[in-house]
């Protein structure tokens, strides 16, 4: 194909141009990235002072001590297949869904442990932000999620659990 070289050069030029424009337009974000931000998560921590990310060890400790209300942000189908024992299912995919009755009356400074499937999945953070808007101020997001929990061989519970 005679044109192949030209087409490829055009495509590469578009790629290079994108890189330049992106770096210019998002310069403030790129600067923050270079300084070390956004290496773990992508939410603007300053907007949500009550949210912090926790590791598997911290999540396990909170679960074992019963110090936090545990919330599973995944869809109900995934929750039913298995979840952290004692967790309540508050699917972040349904923003209109009311918070569980127990949570509505809960102390706003009580600890909440939120998780979803894993890999910093969005629904746990989305739920955490929503809870933050509701006034909760101690929200721990277990970013390793259910995947990391089961890989570590920690117990799980199946079925509807408690609402």
């Amino acid at each position: 194909m005679k044109d192949a070289g030209r087409i490829l050069r055009q495509a590469l030029a578009l790629g290079a141009l994108s890189l330049i424009v992106a770096a210019a337009v998002q310069f403030p974000l790129v600067q923050r990235f270079v300084r070390g931000e956004f290496r773990e998560s992508f939410f603007q921590a300053a907007e949500f002072p009550g949210i912090r990310l926790v590791t598997l060890a911290e999540a396990e400790e909170l679960w074992a001590s019963g110090a936090a209300v545990i919330l599973d942000a995944r869809a109900a189908g995934f929750f039913d297949q298995g979840h952290i024992p004692g967790a309540r299912n508050v699917s972040a995919a349904e923003p209109g869904q009311a918070l569980p009755a127990g949570l509505r009356g809960a102390a706003k400074d009580g600890a909440l442990l939120v998780y979803c499937e894993g890999g910093d999945c969005q629904s746990s953070l989305a739920l955490a932000k929503r809870l933050h808007d509701e006034g909760f101020r101690d929200i721990r997001v277990f970013s390793g999620g259910f995947e990391e929990w089961t890989k570590a061989g920690l117990p799980e519970e199946k079925g509807h659990g408690q609402e």
Binding site: I7, A11, L14, Q26, F42, F78, E117, G118, D120
Partner: protein, 148 residues
């Protein structure tokens, strides 16, 4: 055979418009898009961030090139390449059983699945039509004799 100039123009406008729109909604919230990429669990946070900054502009510039008729076949190659990548990504995600937002159109995205693949296949067909059939620019202009 697509020989009709008007039809090719319509294809360019549709595909270009979709890509400009898809890129623009992501440019508005790059951190949200970075999270979408991270959710696929294929690359780490740093690479997700870099992709979230660059990819939307690649979509916008390729889309604009299609609309304006500049570097058209190069843009068609970029668009088709991206769509092939998105289709494979969605298939792999489905096979892995991940429950993620496709991230295709920012906040109006939906779950990765067959719908997304069909949509991408439709756009890929348009991209390939442009890549193969679009013949404009320098090729037709040069009437110079071959030099020795």
């Amino acid at each position: 055979m697509v020989r009709n100039k008007t039809l090719l123009l319509v294809v360019r406008l549709i595909l270009g418009g979709l890509f400009v729109y898809a890129g623009a909604v992501k440019v508005l919230d790059p951190l949200d898009f970075a999270q979408d990429i991270r959710n696929y669990r294929l690359v780490g946070p740093s690479l997700s961030f870099i992709a979230a900054i660059v990819l939307p502009w690649l979509e916008i510039l390729a889309g604009l090139a299609l609309i304006l008729g500049i570097w058209m076949r190069g843009a068609a190659l970029v668009v088709s390449g991206l769509l092939v990548f998105f289709i494979i990504l969605t298939l792999v995600t489905m096979i892995r059983g991940l429950d993620v937002d496709c991230g295709c159109f920012g906040a109006v995205s939906r779950k990765s699945g067959w719908g997304v693949i069909l949509e991408d296949l439709g756009m890929l067909a348009l991209g390939l039509v442009l890549l193969v059939k679009e013949r404009t620019g320098t090729r037709t202009r040069c009437t110079c004799p071959p030099t020795r």
